[in-house]
Symmetry: C2
Subunit: 471 residues, 2 copies
Amino acid sequence: MDLPPLPLDRTSGLPLAVQLADAVRGAAAAGSFRRGDRLPSTRALAATLGVSRTVTAAAYDQLLAEGWIAARHGAGTFVVGAPDAPPGPAATPARPPTAPAGTATTSLEPGSPCTEALDPAAWRRAWRAGADALPALLADDVGLPAYRAAVADQLLRHRGLVTGPDAVLATAGTTAAVAELAALLPRGARVAVEDPGYQRVAAALRRAGTTVLPVPVDDEGLVVDALPDRLDAVYCTPAHQYPLGARLSARRRLALVQRARAGRFLVIEDDYDGELRYDVAPLPLLAALAPDVVAHLGTTSKVLSPTLGVGWLVAPPAVRAGLLVARASGARPAEAGQRVFAAMAAHGDLARHLRRLRRVLGERRAETVAAIRATGHEVRGDAAGGHVVAPLPDAAGEIAVAEALAARSVTVGLLSSYGLTGPTGYGVVVGYAGPDRPALRRGLAALQEALAGATADVTQRAAISHSAQPV
Amino acid sequence: MDLPPLPLDRTSGLPLAVQLADAVRGAAAAGSFRRGDRLPSTRALAATLGVSRTVTAAAYDQLLAEGWIAARHGAGTFVVGAPDAPPGPAATPARPPTAPAGTATTSLEPGSPCTEALDPAAWRRAWRAGADALPALLADDVGLPAYRAAVADQLLRHRGLVTGPDAVLATAGTTAAVAELAALLPRGARVAVEDPGYQRVAAALRRAGTTVLPVPVDDEGLVVDALPDRLDAVYCTPAHQYPLGARLSARRRLALVQRARAGRFLVIEDDYDGELRYDVAPLPLLAALAPDVVAHLGTTSKVLSPTLGVGWLVAPPAVRAGLLVARASGARPAEAGQRVFAAMAAHGDLARHLRRLRRVLGERRAETVAAIRATGHEVRGDAAGGHVVAPLPDAAGEIAVAEALAARSVTVGLLSSYGLTGPTGYGVVVGYAGPDRPALRRGLAALQEALAGATADVTQRAAISHSAQPV
């Protein structure tokens, strides 16, 4: 977004950070910011205002503590305490923050589903069918039978996991499921998490009182040899490492399972977009390899939409029993989204949708990869899912590309923000699923311009060619 | 349910509790129990088998630890580890556990909504409208604008709370909202909870690491004078104390707010069925009296159905900001149910539904109260909500009534199970909203027979007549 004027007076005696926080609060109160507006990074704002980054970081910390702004890891910093953006029409879903003054922001941030591939008639049919059963009298601890059957079928067809509806638990999505699993661990439990990785899950684990231990990732996925000792759990994304995009290699899968059995820890397999591969078949799930130590998580967020707010979990009996005991006196996943997903599955609409989705996303990925490669930059990540990573050599390069994109009202993920304790590398994380095709082309054109002015990361390219035979 | 044979051998040398746990496991594995089957109470099973209650309690503890069974406070003990009950047709909502061999169980347990009052055409319209917007690309931290507007309107019309959509946060329901609020409190925070009270909320508070302090309840609701010092929060149900049914008196409301302001603690006002009163108007909400110290919670579970899986929260700015910061890196409420509720509200269907619901529940309450009074027993609780309490003088009376009802395949809540640290009183908690009319009549007939054989609780009757002027 364009910044309103944020006047700073170096002669006033007031610390610049205090003045800056005041100016942001004043702009928010005056309506110059609206809830959902994205703020520039502390680095970018420091450059704009000609102050040190210490000043902008201190001001943001203060505004964060006061609840004016909120940081979403991987997505940036947003205004939350100012007046709302004008409400949309009834039931309009949330949209990414928009830039002021007629400039539509194009979001190439990862994590969105692809609505282009969804047949609106199928979507409507599924919602209509959701009303076929009367409202339930009781909330359900395990999930609706029809939903669990649809998930078991989905796991069998698309992920090769032979399981039954009885083994499936509905969840309120991946973050909620990780929080439920973490609550079963002793306080202070040691949980290894891929670094770079999924900040929302790391935050959920920390909030549950566990100690998050970062573990490096390379082009074979999680570096199993680098796992610390005395673990209680490992969180990983074996099908498509988030965000770097590697598939956990077969030998590492075996090594991880051996470590888990020897060390008696739980492996949390987050299969967030495992249905989406465009070249080779996926490797067997960890949950198929070692159902005794793996809690498998899936979600409807990437293949359909976060609107449904549901996912699933298949876990060893003791873990499953622990979850059920907690749910018997705790929160339970909502049924509404389960009804819609089960109805999509019941009439073949889900299978048709997944076929279309793979085709559409495969095309979008090819377009995205070609656009990036045309600038001399490399692309990291398997032909899978809804995002790719274009590495950049350093922080300055990442900031320059982000600012060039911001000037064109395009947002992307920044690789540095996926580091659990600080940057593990630099680059842009480009999501190609969310925008419509014209927006994707506008975004990719802007990305090409931005990358054309940046130095390519030759080290990363070498690492990628080195791992051309990942299995 | 009818028990399968559970053979115990007193000469085998194996402890009876171990034998009993084995027998239950064996029966579950053999399919004699199914998931969702309700087990007899430890007391009732001890009487049936002719063993001491220590034996049955130890066996249940073991089965609970192994995940074969789960205890739902106020609802009993259920099989969770056995094979599933046969799945119903697609998207059939969960039903209360059913008795075997053709005997339909009638649940008069509290907590269910009343589907009789719901116009199926309106329900279908709302679900159809839920598909009008495309699936969202991003999950939403605050809730859909249309949902928040519908809630603000509902709070204004039915609860007299003047607020705006901006002040409303969507939640994933009351238990989830309490867990979110508890996570903002320091570990070990002291939270006072009504006793008897809502066990699910007490469990959520304990799970979040807070210390739950029981506070007594009388016919003016929470005994504010009995609140301990150094509190961080108070959880209460001022409109309709759960389960005893009193309305927090006006003088106690003022006292509670004064204590909260002086002691700087948060008041969590759970208004779970505040829309449902059949005589006098409700008192103003605590949130209207003291928006600076009250977090107000509402839910769609009682006025529509737990199927939607959504509720709402209106809280002081600092609390709200804290919740948003946590959601920015945590789980967020699902949209699907919000869409349905917003659509119900948009075309007047929700207002029509609430009018019909009040009429239907008022009739059902009158029928229930008349049935109980005809046996010489008293009824406790305001003319509100979906349940009443019939006090009984002691544990023996409560067990006798519960067993007489079980013999007629009728289940009710047992007042003793609502005590946070043990029974605070005895009686049956009778929910009249859930069953259809024929089932309600069957259930009430069985209740009359069961109560006719039990001694009435004269002490309670005196207490009730003493508090005939509650305000």
